[in-house]
């Protein structure tokens, strides 16, 4: 066992791991690392690295593969710090890997109860790092702090009772001295929240209840007691603007998903973008994309912070292609709507009004017989990453052109049980397809598209090498970011439900995508 012990204790290498807040804030200074979920706080999922570029990406080859220990969805977005990669793995594992070779440095596994309430698999989307501590949110709704050098537990706190339908699947966001984390459980009649924890002690510093309590502004948008079981989750990582000290976090659908009869009203703050103070959790503003949603169009995807000139004026914006089929650009200081435009086929709204509120068409809500609508419940896009490249000033999104037949059903609430109120099946009358689309960031105007055979469920990353990496089914590929031409592809042999990242180690640029039950890592030789 001696050699094994040595393998798992590379003290010299790991002694380097220390990521104070300032390093994440100034991530632009170290393009070779990937220090937070989207690489930096902007949510852009843009890597400035250009060793792999349009002229040589065709020579990209497998560098190493890391097999997961258990067979379940692999959605991790790795963190890479100074030669060490940190990943989460289904269902309850965190590992440190040597970023150049893929060899395992340490392994942490959490005991999980057997009666978890999970809508969508034993998935996890990654960890956060702050200082020399990793932060990991778990399927039984705990937040765990691990020593980044060894994987040993520093603290473990309960966020909520999993028996009530609560879980957590997203990567936390480390901001200054706080660890900010959301939760999942939107199909179980939970009441959603976003929490801020003291990074050192694990003590909860604040909680923002996404559904306001009785007497608070916004509670009047819920009929009766429906707010108590209205879902409104927060299961994907947000973005942060250090200049205004604002965290931007998306929220999930109201519950029950497909039957809104018992929750008349706009159902604030579901399907919204929240601007929060990371020190206190206080709300600065909100923008609701889909009032009174009955189509399960969560708006939890990571928002992207960027700047653009609109009608001659420079604007600080927060943008995203929403699951409801519309692309939105908001003023990220005021939360006011700047522009919006459908980026996929949609048949439920006549458009957006001047404030950005959708104008819903009649006869577009679920019925017992089924209501046919574009987009499907999976949305025009979904939780996975869009990307923005400062080099091209374009926003890239992996879209789904797919319709759904929405059914209304029962809404009996029982704590910890599914609370859907109906469902949806895919419409097969028109062949669905996917595409990577490049949109002008200020307007959502289509610049180009690369058509895909089927709708994808995986994210994009843009790079300084002029590339956009993406996935379709089991294929991982690279497109020319300017023109959308296919430059490289690789068949992974497993379904891809994850976002790519890129990093440098030992002088080489690597590109990473989880697929099936393995992590695939590519480099030029």
């Amino acid at each position: 066992m001696r050699s094994l012990v040595l393998l798992f204790a590379p003290v010299v290498l790991l002694a380097q791991v220390n990521v104070p807040y300032e390093r994440i804030r100034d991530a632009a200074k170290e393009p070779g690392n990937w220090l937070t979920y989207s690489r930096d706080y902007t949510g852009q999922r843009y890597s400035p690295l250009d060793q792999i570029n349009t002229s040589n990406v065709g020579k990209l080859r497998i560098a190493w593969v890391h097999q997961a220990h258990e067979l379940d969805g692999f959605e991790t977005s790795p963190i890479v710090v100074d030669g060490t990669m940190f990943i989460s793995q289904p269902p309850n594992i965190v590992e440190a890997l040597h970023a150049a070779s893929g060899r395992t440095l340490w392994h942490y596994q959490k005991d999980l109860p057997t009666d978890l309430r999970l809508c969508c698999g034993k998935v996890n989307r990654g960890v956060a790092i702050l200082g020399d501590t990793l932060y990991y949110a778990t399927l039984d709704a705990h937040l765990v702090a691990l020593d980044a050098r060894t994987g040993s537990v520093r603290w473990d706190v309960t966020m909520a009772d999993y028996k009530g339908g609560y879980s957590s699947t997203g990567a936390p966001l480390a901001v200054k001295d706080k660890i900010i984390i959301g939760m999942a459980g939107g199909e179980y009649g939970v009441r959603g929240f976003i929490d801020g924890y003291d990074a050192k002690t694990g003590k909860r510093a604040w909680r923002f209840n996404i559904i306001p309590s009785k007497g608070e502004p916004g509670n009047e948008t819920w009929a009766g007691d429906s707010w108590k079981t209205g879902s409104a989750t927060s299961w994907v990582t947000g973005a942060y603007d250090a200049e205004t000290n604002t965290v931007y976090w998306g929220t999930g659908n109201p519950g029950p998903d497909w039957n809104g009869d018992g929750r008349k009203g706009d159902n604030l703050y579901t399907d919204s973008l929240l601007a929060l103070d990371p020190d206190t959790g206080a709300k600065k503003w909100h923008f609701q994309y889909t009032p009174h949603d009955e189509n399960d169009w969560d708006s939890t995807q990571t928002p992207i912070l960027t700047e653009a000139t609109v009608q001659g004026q420079p604007r600080k914006m927060v943008v995203l292609a929403n699951r409801n089929g519309f692309y939105y650009a908001l003023d990220r200081v005021s939360g006011k709507f700047i522009s919006g435009k459908a980026y996929v086929k949609q048949t439920w709204a006549s458009g957006l009004d001047e404030a950005g509120r959708p104008m819903r068409l009649p006869n577009t809500t679920p019925t017992a017989e089924g209501t046919l609508l574009w987009p499907s419940l999976a949305g025009g896009s979904n939780w996975y990453s869009s990307t923005y490249s400062p080099k091209t000033a374009l926003y890239y999104v992996n879209v789904k052109e797919l319709a759904g037949i929405y059914h209304k059903g029962d809404t009996d609430y029982k704590a910890g049980a599914l609370f859907n109120g109906g469902g949806q099946r895919d419409y097969k009358g028109e062949e669905p397809y996917g595409a990577v689309r490049a949109l002008e960031v200020a307007t959502g105007q289509l610049r180009w598209e690369y058509k895909l055979f089927s709708p994808s469920h995986a994210g994009l990353m843009s790079t300084g090498g002029g590339l956009v990496f993406g996935s379709n089914s089991s294929a991982f590929f690279a497109l020319d970011a300017q023109k959308g031409d296919l430059l490289w592809r690789f068949e992974t042999g497993g379904g891809i439900d994850a976002n790519p990242i890129s990093y440098m180690s030992e002088g080489k640029q690597f590109v990473v995508i989880p697929s099936g039950h393995a992590l695939f890592v590519f480099s030029l030789d």
Binding site: K122, S376, G409, R425, S454, S473
Partner: protein, 257 residues
């Protein structure tokens, strides 16, 4: 909610449910009425309004091979059956609704079933002889591969559906048998069933059973003939009695092995 993993999750939930010793189905008049309504919306398209079968197997029978007990039936309705066209209903139905639907399905089995007419032995002769069905269809490894394997077809398709397929093969082309014609840039042309396709390649099996694979970048044209079938109609080729006997033979193929 995320869509992609729903089936897996429900699998976990249903697996947990499957550990229950017994499932009790609701059996009030209101439950059965609701179950009938749900069946009408979610199941009848394939299984027929009275469970008489169609694209999906007949459910109006006392014993269901995939659902020997009520717990198994609830699981099948919730999860679907992997490797078949039967989808899981958990995305559309609550746990209670699944049980109401199951209760209605069980009630269908209490109604006497009309036997299939015709002489299966004579039908077997027509299948191998005059009908030349073996040219394209296989049963237990014997026959061609251009069309679907017919071993155990009676467990998946009703007699009515089989008759319709013989009379009008294009009334319901089975999944996985999309007829395509691909034309390569070098002029090579292949027609057959699409075996696989993604953004970059397409794979076609021609009527002789030979597989052809193409990179899409090498192709000049892909023509997808939705709703088209290479199978001829037997309406004018067989007499009414011969048709009845052939259906009787196919309806006797209940075991896959």
């Amino acid at each position: 909610m995320k869509l992609a993993m729903v089936c897996l999750v429900f699998g976990a939930v249903a697996a947990a449910a499957g550990t229950e010793a017994k499932v009790k189905l609701p059996n009030s008049r209101a439950d059965l009425a609701r179950g009938e309504k749900l069946f009408e919306h979610h199941c009848a398209l394939c299984h027929g309004p009275k469970g008489e079968g169609g694209r999906g197997p007949m459910l109006a029978r006392a014993k269901l091979s995939r659902a020997p007990d009520d717990a198994a039936l609830v699981k099948v309705i919730g999860e679907g059956i992997r490797g078949t066209e039967m989808p899981g209903g958990e995305n559309e139905l609550s746990d209670h609704e699944i049980r109401q639907t199951a209760a209605f399905v069980r009630s269908l089995g209490r109604v006497p079933v009309k036997p299939v007419a015709g002489n299966p032995a004579r039908g077997a002769e027509i299948y191998r002889g005059k009908g030349n069905c073996t040219a394209c269809h296989s049963i237990q490894g014997e026959g061609g591969v251009a069309g679907p394997d017919l071993a155990g077809i009676a467990a998946r398709r009703s007699a009515g559906y089989l008759r319709e397929s013989l009379v009008d093969p294009e009334a319901a082309v089975p999944e996985g048998y999309l007829l395509v014609t691909v034309v390569a840039k070098n002029g090579e042309k292949v027609t057959g069933a699409r075996v696989n396709e993604d953004s970059f390649s397409i794979h076609v099996r021609d009527n002789s059973g030979r597989s052809h694979s193409f990179w899409k970048s090498d192709l000049a044209q892909i023509d997808k003939q939705r709703g088209k079938s290479p199978m001829p109609s037997y309406k004018s080729q067989l007499s009414e009695d011969e048709m009845t006997d052939l259906v009787a033979y196919l309806a006797s193929l209940k075991e896959e092995k």
